[in-house]
Amino acid sequence: MNRDIVRFALRGLSANKLRSGLTTLGILIGVAAVILLVAVGNGSSRQIQESIARLGSNTLTVRPSTTGGGGPGGAGPRGGFPGLAGGGQQQSSGPRIQAKDLTVDDAKALADKAAAPSVKSASPVVTAQSATAAYEGSSHAIAQFVGSGPAYFDATSNAVGTGSAFTQADVDQARKVVVIGQTVVDELFGTVRPVGKQIAVNGVPFTVVGVLKEKGSSGIQDSDDLAIAPLDAVRQSLTGFGGLDQIVVQATGPDATDGAEAEITQILNQRHGVGTGSTADFSVQNQASLQETASESSETFTVLLGAVAAISLLVGGIGITNIMLVTVTERTREIGIRKAIGAPRRAILGQFLAEAIVLSLVGGLSGVAVGVVGSQFTVLGVDPVIVPSSILLSLGVSVGIGLFFGGFPAGRAAGLRPIEALRHE
């Protein structure tokens, strides 16, 4: 009996293929839109996460703080307002003390296992502002010419592709060696193998010992337009021996970043003589909290996209109601005949409900197919990442819509009186 009802429903649908197809299309678009847009939102969220992770894993950046004036109030160690750009940054508030530069000794103190157990490594960093490298007639202005130690590579997720990174010995002896990014290789060397060659940076010869693995661009910044050399080599030849531009600290693990931040603050406060009531002369930027803020905002974006898609799913559902109402009106006589020959109420109800559910289910399943296939392509520069729950949810919602929006017309059909239905022309 139930099989027959489904059979009647399928026959009813196939009798009007174009109409059934168009109704299905409405649901298809809705479901596909939900899956695809949520996947795009999710994908862009991943992309943001990745580009943040590219800056370094579990890293904290300590910078000398020259901003902030004397304001009232105590110096809360974490008074920062987490904005997207300045996540976890310590804001200055309170009277300033004599600002001290960040020094190599600060970095060494931070790397002390006893005082800072959460810190894996601390690399002093100087960055040359304008470093123009030249090799056999071709020259290139390197966006970022960094002087640091060997730990810097790991802390900033800069892996060496060919050749090797420089060693602590290179740093100690301030050897003029350099590891360069792919963009620099392309600009200076073209097809020539760069390892072992000598380049002139602002006239100072550096020997290329390694090439970094390609990281790709992260939005506005080309992560591969980079050169890393031993700290003192850069200080000698390019920046001079001033204060450090930053200290890149790598925490022991993702959970240790907050602990590391506290330890850094404590150690540097002590070393720089920062007490309560005075403002720190440095700031600590926590990568993890930056990541958190970024993912929060991209989640909002995903929800927004999903909501827009859900509306189109709803419109598709109303399309089903509309078509089912037309169908019931059109087939009133048929309903009358079926009732006259003894179709019970639930058989009629079941038949039209089954038609609505088949429409929505077919639409939903093909919507899933379209959504999944569509997610394989890059949409607006974003590689969509499918959220499995969005598939289940949209499919469930589409069947629910079939039940809900098909229920009204089906109930109307089942409630028809046979004698009136038979009289209907």
């Binding site: 009996m1 009798a15 048929e334 006259a340 020959i341 003894g342 179709a343 004698i419 038979l422």
Partner: protein
């Protein structure tokens, strides 16, 4: 009138049935007190001009409508006390309808149309198919089971409708102007089938305004303004219907369909 058979309850037992449509000033009295009994094996024709209330009576007898007052028993069951669901079961089991406009379901094969009442009756698929084919053979359409209504002539469509009406072996076959939309040849075919069904013991009630059709019945009732004004018996309840008796006498073309079903269909 007592049953000529065994004293069982009559198939139809209407007592003072009144049907009023609308209220107050605009009320229409379609039936003004109709009482009748129809016994098993009888062949009854209701005659009357349009507006005489015969369609209303047909709807009430067919359990498609309920009387305003009065009671109606179908095969011993008081219809007035049944719920909609029970009425649906009653229509399915006890009644077979033949309509003037055939009322086959479009885009469904003849076989599927005939199977439909059995499907709603919960009969299994193979049993259903077997019985539907048998019913179609009985009306001479054993070889047209796969055709859809729009591929059949009017007479053939009406024969499919007759097959659908009798496939459940109902207590009563109700035909509302069954030949109203048919040409002479098709009319003869359908009437011959009804005659044969009645001869096999099926109770038949026909509503018509044609005297030729009514001449096939054993009993003729005439309705005027919602009342029975004439009740004539042409032949005894348990004898052959007059149409068949005449055919036997005059070697009428007769029920061609009975022999028309192909040998290929015999196996079913």
């Amino acid at each position: 009138m007592t049953s000529p058979h065994d004293g069982a309850a009559p198939v139809l037992d209407a007592r003072d049935v009144v049907k009023i449509y609308g209220h107050g000033e605009t009320a229409v009295h379609a039936l003004r007190g109709v009482s009748l009994e129809v016994h098993r094996g009888d062949y009854v024709a209701f005659m009357g001009a349009s507006g005489s209330g015969k369609s209303t009576l047909m709807n009430i007898l067919g359990c498609l409508d309920v009387p305003t007052t009065g009671s109606y028993l179908l095969d011993g069951t008081d219809v007035g006390e049944l719920t909609q669901g029970q009425l649906a079961v009653l229509r399915n089991r006890k009644l077979g309808f033949v309509f003037q406009s055939f009322n086959l379901i479009p885009r469904m094969s003849a076989l599927a149309n005939v199977e439909l009442p059995l499907a709603y009756g919960g009969v299994g698929a193979s049993e259903r198919r077997r019985r539907a084919r048998a019913a179609l053979r009985l009306v001479g359409l054993g070889e047209r089971v796969g055709h859809e209504p729009n591929e059949l002539s009017g007479g053939q469509q009406q024969r499919v409708a007759v097959a659908r009406a009798l496939v459940t072996a109902p207590a009563l076959l109700l035909a509302d102007e069954p030949t109203g939309n048919l040409d002479t040849a098709s009319t003869a075919e359908v009437l011959a089938i009804l005659d044969r069904l009645n001869a096999q013991g099926r109770t038949v009630v026909v509503i018509t305004h044609e005297t030729e059709v009514a001449a096939h019945a054993k009993r003729t009732l005439r309705l005027v303004d919602g009342r029975i004004v004439e009740d004539v018996r042409n032949a005894p309840v348990n004898g052959p219907p007059p149409g068949l008796a005449a055919a036997a006498d005059a070697t009428d073309p007769g029920p061609e369909p009975a022999s028309g079903s192909g040998p290929a269909e015999r196996g079913w």
